[in-house]
């Protein structure tokens, strides 16, 4: 099974993407989509990536909801910062070093995408040896508060999923 279909979930998602793109579930579309999905999963298998282990997926819906809420909230916050007249309020942007407990590469990638996709924070660097990341924050008020937010809001739940 593994030989024929090395990444079943990826193949399934590729097929769904193809059907969405074609907007049909005709036999022809399904056949072509399946061929593409198989090819895609073989291509990925030949890269020999470490296997991702997903556990406790029950946390995922809550996490997605929080990401959405956070994205809307920080869109509003960053838009206000951009539109506020120059020099109206003292604002400081800067880097925060955040120690991480998570080691799983896929969990770290997910954390990086969540933080960077949220306006106002950009993942800037990661030190594997020390397991710390560098985060750039547009409106930096309290470094310790950011460490707490990243660890409690995102890292904990990503560790439940990926580790």
């Amino acid at each position: 099974m593994r030989r024929i279909l090395p990444h079943p979930l990826l193949a399934f998602l590729l097929l769904i993407a193809w059907l969405l793109l074609m907007e049909s579930v005709s036999p022809g579309a399904v056949l072509l989509g399946s061929i593409l999905a198989l090819g895609g999963s073989w291509a990925l298998a030949s890269l020999a990536l470490p296997r991702a282990r997903l556990r406790r997926l029950i946390v995922l819906p809550g996490l997605m909801r929080d990401v959405l809420v956070e994205v809307v909230r920080s869109n509003n916050a960053v838009a206000r910062i951009i539109l506020s007249p120059k020099g109206s309020s003292p604002r400081r942007s800067g880097f925060v070093r955040i120690p991480l407990d998570m080691r799983d590469p896929y969990g770290l990638a997910a954390l990086a995408c969540i933080l960077t996709a949220t306006p106002g924070t950009v993942w800037a660097d990661y030190e594997a040896e020390e397991s710390t990341m560098l985060l750039h924050v547009l409106d930096l008020i309290d470094e310790a508060e950011w460490v707490r937010i990243v660890k409690e809001k995102w890292e904990q739940r990503l560790m439940e999923i990926f580790e």
Binding site: V71, I82, A117, W123, A124
Partner: protein, 125 residues
Amino acid sequence: MTQAAELPSWAALAIAVLLLSGAGLALVGAVGLLRLQTFYERVHAPTLGTTLGIGCVLLASMLYFSLVQTRFILHEILIAVLVVITTPVTLMLLTRAALYRDRIEGRGAVPPALRFRRGRGIDNQ
């Protein structure tokens, strides 16, 4: 857009509001590129357009074409997924490239890499 006149007014209103807020967010992001001071601040600005901005426009598109063609149009979800996956990678790449260069050239107030602090030199990466 000739069918637009046949839309019920609630739908037309919702679509217009979504489209305008999406476009507005993209505009604010572009203004941010001009107004913010440093590179690391400017990198935050385009995320407005690529998150909530694109979300609003895609929702408006889904709503409009679903109502006009009286069936669910869902391939906007694909656009959303692809944008959400690819833009953070681009932004991270830009940020890390800038950080790397600033560290090498010793410019700006960028925090040193831990391995530099321990004095093991640049070649040791």
